[in-house]
Amino acid sequence: MRILLVEDDPVLGPELKTELERGGYAVDVANNGIDGEALGREAIYDMVVLDLGLPGRPGMDVLTNWRKQGNNVPTLILTARSAWQQRVDGFEAGADDYLCKPFHTEELLARITALLRRANRLPATPLSVAGLQLDEKSQAVQVGDNERIVLTGREYRLLRYFMHNPGRVLSKLQLVEHLYDEGTDNDSNVIEAYIKMLRKKIGHDRIATRRGQGYVLVEHYPDLS
């Protein structure tokens, strides 16, 4: 899952990026409204965390412009402006959630999780697809009734992205785009390696290969146990 963080504060921005990355997200930071709007237009982000008081272009304008152009990227507004009028304006402009500063990281992560679930029309918690149950706190997966398997950061990100898009064919490029931020060398061969490792942990047939197209998480997996 790749998140666009539009936040101008030179301390809070990088710090939030680190914390979100610890939560298993690829994060790009834009520190002004104009860059933020341009980045948000690319269809590579699963969601946006948007500050409202931005240099260059106010956050509200950025959001309004996206929605006007038919860009429905899930957006969480993160702002110091806590008046109800501003919250209403935010939701009316097309925001999906609104969090006021100061906030706790857990609160932000919980909101992000909930928002991503909702955006992919998945039931609330825990994330459970095709007999796989993902524990987002400990970054582990439970296959059927078997024991929990601890995943590495990369594997966790990969599996979570698959589980958010069950039954959908995901190309290597798509996976790279959604799992890495722009600062990382995104070699698509790395994806193959991670898929191989993931298959080893959760079962080879759970991720099917579509030649020339990509990979797909098998939605209705026959009960092997």
Binding site: D9, V11, L12, E15, E19, L52, G53, T79, A80, R81, S82, A83, W84, Q85, R87, V88, F91, E92, D96, D97, Y98, C100, K101, P102, F103, H104, T105, A114, R118, A124
Partner: protein, 446 residues
């Protein structure tokens, strides 16, 4: 209190009245003068006739030749009289004098005359005395005419003049009142516009085409505008301060979390202070945002705002599957700032949504004098004793569910600004019922 109309009317009436009285006096004097001159001229003529008529008769005695004089002198009390004497002989009287005589002054040098007005037997007479010398003898002729008739005519004329004058004055006054009223109409229209402005039906006074009124209207509009601007500016300043202060506070909080691993006691102390700072800032900033009806000309239709809030609430609490029912007439409006209404409803609705099991109900009603809002939920409700505490101190009952504390104190603050009432009851739905009562018009505002 001074009235422009009275100030315009009074000098006008006084001036008109004095001019009229002066004219009336002048006219009376002039007419009387003309009439008396006319009578005096005729008396002079009569006196000449008498001079002609009196002369030496057959027996060398001087007699009056009756052919020369008018018969009216023969009729007693006819109103025309004469008397004469020759040298210092006895007075010879006309028959019309009967037993009386014309009061006559001292002797008059020959060739002179004297005109006097006297009262005789209760009648005003004009008397003309002439002294002649005829054939070497001194002749003193006195002719008089009763001028009661002329006097009477003059009095009638004067009365008529007064009557006409009064009529004219009344008409003038009426016309003047109407003219002044017409002139002041634009002022009255501005007063009505200001009432509308106060009620919130308009946001600016319409421009006036009257040059005397225009500066007034412009100044009021300027004042309203500058108030609006000042309000906006102070709100922006508050918003900027909030933004500027909260981001560093967020960073501080994160540093505290990091510190917690190494030094839990220090981190806890810092966390307490940070929490206090947060609460203080939040409360003061929100209070600063509340402005009451500082600005005239506001009319916020509640239904529109409620629809937006409803969407927002459903978005915030979308996992809860809540039903929000509203019952507000489309014409019901809030007599103040939009931000205040939204803050008020936002806090109450958010509380209701947080505690509700499945439904929230909002009812709004307005009559000529007040606006009434009820927000209810079907949640667990609050014990009556604790409700009092909540309203008194904005105390937070449940720390885990953020709200119900600060939120309600902000609501209380807004309601206080609008001089309304805020009560908490038990709802028929089972939960809490927040009841807001706001007066629609506040006196002393514009």
């Amino acid at each position: 209190m001074k009235s422009i109309r009275a100030r315009l009317s009074f000098p006008f009436v006084a001036l008109t009245l004095s001019v009229f009285v002066l004219l009336w006096l002048l006219q009376g004097w002039f007419l009387r003068q003309v009439a008396y001159d006319f009578v005096a001229a005729r008396l002079s003529h009569e006196s000449f006739l008498l001079l002609k008529a009196v002369g030496p008769g057959q027996e060398d005695a001087w007699t009056l030749d009756g052919r020369y004089i008018s018969p009216t002198y023969m009729r007693p009390m006819s109103g025309y009289y004469f008397q004469y004497r020759i040298d210092s002989g006895p007075w010879v009287y006309s028959r019309s004098l009967w037993d009386g005589q014309i009061p006559s002054g001292s002797t008059l040098p020959a060739g002179k005359n004297r005109i006097t007005a006297v009262m005789q037997n209760g009648e005003p007479w004009l008397v003309r005395e002439e002294a002649y010398v005829k054939q070497g003898r001194y002749l003193h002729i006195v002719v008089a005419e009763d001028i009661a008739g002329i006097r009477h005519d003059l009095a009638r004329l004067s009365g008529m003049t007064i009557a006409l004058g009064v009529l004219f004055l009344v008409l003038m006054l009426l016309a003047q009142v109407m003219i002044i009223r017409g002139g002041l109409a634009s002022l009255r229209r501005v007063a009505l516009d200001i009432v509308q402005l106060k009620r919130g039906e308009i946001r600016q006074l319409p421009e006036s085409s009257v040059s005397e009124i225009e500066p007034l209207v412009n100044e009021i509009n300027y004042l309203v505008q500058s108030m609006e601007l000042r309000l906006q500016r102070s709100r922006n300043a508050v918003g900027n301060l909030a933004h500027a202060a909260k981001t560093p506070l967020t960073v501080i909080d994160r540093q505290i979390e990091k510190l917690a691993d190494r030094c839990p006691a220090d981190a806890e102390a810092l966390r307490q202070q940070s929490l206090r700072l947060r609460a203080l800032m939040e409360r003061e900033l929100t209070r600063a945002r509340i402005c009451g009806t500082a600005l005239p000309g506001q009319r916020i239709f509640i239904q529109e705002e409620l629809e937006k809030l409803q969407r927002t609430m459903l978005a915030i609490h979308r996992d809860r599957n809540l039903t929000i029912r509203t019952d507000v007439n489309s014409q019901t409006f809030f007599p103040g700032e939009r931000d205040d209404l939204v803050e008020l409803l936002g806090n109450l609705m958010d509380n209701a949504c947080k505690w509700a099991v499945s439904q929230v109900r909002i009812v709004g009603a307005m009559d000529d004098r007040c606006l009434e809002l009820c927000i209810e939920d079907d949640g667990p409700g609050i014990d009556p004793v604790k409700r009092e505490h909540l309203l008194d101190r904005g105390e937070r009952l449940d720390e885990s569910k953020d709200g119900h504390g600060l939120g309600l104190s902000i609501v209380s603050e807004i309601v206080r600004q609008y001089e309304g009432r805020f009560d908490l009851y038990s709802s028929e739905l089972g939960g809490l019922k927040a009841h807001i009562f706001l007066p629609r018009k506040r006196e002393g505002l514009v």
